[in-house]
Symmetry: C2
Subunit: 378 residues, 2 copies
C-alpha cells in the first residue's frame, strides 16, 4: 500500500517535493497546468484546477490533496472537503492566503501585529488614508498578487484609478487594501509547519532581501536574531498558524521596523522561497516537512546544519543556453555550493533556480552564494 500525495500545480514547489517523496517512499502525483512544467517527472496529468470535475478525478487517485500555489477556487476546495477528501491546507485557511483583505481583518481580530490598514472602495477613502498617514501608502489588490504584482506604492489618491475602475466593472464588486508604508530596517520571514493534529515546529527566523518586489537572497538565521527577536517571530507565526488553522508549511513575511517591532506583511500557506535554504541547511527541508505535515506524521527537526546558510535565487537565468551549460564553471569554482535547477526555460525575471551556500563565516558564505549564482546570469 503506497501513500499518495496529490499536488495541484506543477511549478518548482511541487518539483522540490519530489526528492523528499522519493526519499520517504511516498508517491507524489502532480496535476500540472501545462505540459513540460517543473514538476513534470511526477505529473499525473495536465488539467485546469478551476474545473471541479478535473480536480475531483485527480483527488480520487490520491490520499491527500495539497498545493503548489494558493489559487484553487474556494468552491472547489469546499466540495473536496464535503466529499471527505483530505485537503491540506484546508479552504478555511487558504481563504486568507487568497484574499488580503480577509487576511488583514483576521490578523487584526487575532490581535496580531500588522501595519495600519483599511479597506477602500474609492478615491475618497484612499485620499483620507493618505492624509492620515503622511501622504504615502501601499495599495494592494485583495486577490491575485504575488512577487510584487498587485502592489503599488502611492502618494496620490488617483494613483490606482485603474484598479478602482476594474473593481467597478467587476460584477463581484470588491475593494482594495491600503496599508501604511512601514518604516522598516529589513524584512524577515518565519517558516513554520503545522500538522492537522496540532503539532507545530518552527525553523530559525531568516532575513530576506527583496529586489523589485521579488525575493533575491535569504540569510538563515537572520543576523542579530538570537534571543528575543527570534522568540517574537516564532510566537507570531505560531499564533497565525493556530489562529487560522493552517496545515502544512507556512511562511510569515515580517517587517522589522525602525522602532524594533515586527509587523506581519504577507502569508504564504505552502513551502516558500524564504525556506529553500532548508533543503541544504536544515535537518528537515521544508518540502519533506510539508509532506510529513499534510500526512499528519510527526514533524522533523528544524535545526540549522550550518552556522550560516545563504540562498540566492537565480532570476532569469542565462540569456543564451541552459543552466546546465554553466555547470562546469560554477562547479569548478564553488564545489561545495548546492545548485538547484527548476528545469524551466530562462526568461527575464523568472525564478529558474537557486543556490545555497553554508559555513561558519557569513561574509564568505554570502560571497560564495552570490558568486555561484552569478555564473547563471549574464
Amino acid at each position: 500500500m503506497t501513500t499518495i500525495v496529490g499536488v495541484i500545480g506543477g511549478g518548482q514547489l511541487a518539483r522540490m517535493m519530489i526528492p523528499a517523496a522519493v526519499n520517504l517512499g511516498i508517491e507524489i502525483r502532480v496535476l500540472a497546468e501545462n505540459d513540460g512544467m517543473s514538476a513534470d517527472l511526477a505529473a499525473f496529468g495536465v488539467g485546469d484546477y478551476r474545473d471541479l470535475e478535473v480536480v475531483l478525478a485527480f483527488a480520487e487517485t490520491v490520499d491527500v490533496i495539497t498545493f503548489d500555489h494558493e489559487h484553487v477556487p474556494q468552491e472547489i476546495l469546499r466540495e473536496l472537503v464535503a466529499r471527505g477528501i483530505a485537503v491540506h491546507p484546508g479552504p478555511d485557511a487558504l481563504l486568507y492566503a487568497q484574499d488580503k483583505l480577509l487576511m488583514r481583518q483576521k490578523l487584526s481580530d487575532l490581535g496580531l501585529p500588522v501595519p495600519e490598514w483599511a479597506r477602500i472602495e474609492n478615491v475618497e477613502q484612499l485620499a483620507e488614508f493618505l492624509a492620515d498617514h503622511g501622504g504615502r501608502a501601499v495599495v494592494k489588490t485583495a486577490r491575485g498578487g504575488y512577487d510584487g504584482k498587485g502592489v503599488r506604492v502611492v502618494s496620490h489618491a488617483h494613483d490606482v484609478d485603474d484598479w478602482f475602475m476594474a473593481l467597478a466593472e467587476d460584477a463581484n464588486g470588491g475593494a482594495l487594501l491600503v496599508e501604511e508604508l512601514v518604516d522598516f530596517t529589513r524584512e524577515l520571514a518565519q517558516l513554520v509547519a503545522r500538522r492537522p493534529s496540532g503539532e507545530i515546529v518552527a525553523w530559525p527566523v531568516v532575513e530576506t532581501v527583496q529586489q523589485n518586489g521579488v525575493c533575491a537572497e535569504v540569510i538563515a538565521p537572520a543576523p542579530h536574531s538570537s534571543g528575543k527577536l527570534a522568540e517574537v517571530a516564532e510566537a507570531i507565526a505560531v499564533a497565525v498558524a493556530e489562529g487560522i488553522g493552517v496545515t502544512g508549511v507556512m511562511a510569515v513575511e515580517l517587517f522589522e521596523t525602525t522602532d524594533e517591532r515586527l509587523l506581519i506583511n504577507e502569508l504564504a500557506m505552502r513551502p516558500h522561497n524564504s525556506g529553500h535554504w532548508s533543503m541544504d541547511g536544515s535537518t528537515t527541508s521544508q518540502f519533506e516537512q510539508h509532506l510529513r505535515a499534510v500526512l499528519d506524521l510527526p514533524l522533523g527537526g528544524t535545526a540549522a546544519r550550518d552556522a550560516w546558510s545563504v540562498m540566492v535565487n537565480i532570476l532569469g537565468g542565462p540569456t543564451t543556453g541552459s543552466l546546465v551549460e554553466r555547470y562546469p564553471g560554477a562547479f569548478q569554482a564553488y564545489p561545495s555550493v548546492k545548485v538547484h535547477n527548476y528545469g524551466k526555460d530562462p526568461r527575464p525575471g523568472r525564478k529558474v533556480g537557486h543556490v545555497t551556500a553554508g559555513g561558519d563565516d557569513l561574509d564568505d558564505v554570502v560571497y560564495q552564494a552570490r558568486a555561484t549564482a552569478a555564473f547563471f546570469q549574464d
Copy 2:
C-alpha cells in the same frame, strides 16, 4: 536542451539518483528489469539489459549510460562504446567488477595490497592452498556474487565440490578464486569518485559492519581513522580508480588487519551501500557525485557535515504492513534521524531502506540510528 542520464537497472541505487537529478535539473531515465521497481518514477521502460537491441534503443535516447549494477555483459558494453555512446564506468573498468579473478590479478599487477590469493580449478589446487594457509581459506566464484552470495569459508578441500562441478559443466570453463582468511580487526570502505577527465575526490574512510555477509551499519568517518590510516585508505582507492580507469563513484572495501595493514577486499564501481550516509552526512551525496562524474562535470565537496554519521540498513522490513505505517512511531521518537524508503515490498533479508543519524556524540548517534531502524523491523 536537457541533459539526460540513462541508468541501466531499476533498483534502489537508480532510485536514489532521482533526487540528485531533480535538484540539478538533469533528466534521468531508467531501464528497469521489471515493472514496479524502486526507480519506477524515472522508468523509461522495462527491458532485458542482456539484449543488445533493447540496450541500444535505450541508449539512443540518452546522453550517457551508467548503471545500477555491474551485470551488463561485456559484449553489449563494448558495442555501445564502439558506436560512440558514452558509457561510465566503461567496459574496461567494469570487467574487474564483473570478474573477481581478473580483479585480483589486476590489483596484484598494480602492486596494491590484497590478501594472498590463487586461481584454482580443482580440488588438488584448493588442498594445496589450504595447506599453505593454515588449513582455512575463503573461496569465491569469479562471477555473480554479491551480498555474501558466492562466498564460502572453507576448511576442507571438498567444501566447494558443487562449484567445481558447476565449472566442469560450464562450456566456458572458468576457475574459482581462493584467498587467505584475513585476520582483520574490522572492515572499512573508501568511497571515491573519478570523472573521465581525471579529477578524483574522496570521502572520509568509513567503518562498515557486516551481518551474514550483508552490510548492516556504516560509521562515518571510521573511528580512530584520522591521520595516516585515512591517508593510506584514500591512496589505495585513488590508485585503484586510476589504475583501472574507473569513472563515476567507486567503493573499495578494505580489511584492517590485526597487524595494521589495509588489504583490498572487494570493489564496487557504482554508488555503494557504504556511501549512503553521504546523502545526509556529506556536502555532496554519492548519487549527486555519480551524476556529476558520469557527465564529466567538476566534482562536489566531500566534507562530512557532522562529526559522526551513522547509517543503519533496514533489512527485511516489518513482517506486516509497510514501512510508512511505522513512520508515526519512528518520527515521533527520532525527529532528526533521516529515513530512506526504497519503495520495495518487505521480504526477509532484503534491503528495503536505511536510516542515517548525525551528531557530535558517537554513542548517541549510533543509538539513535539503531533505535530508528528498529521501528521498521519486527
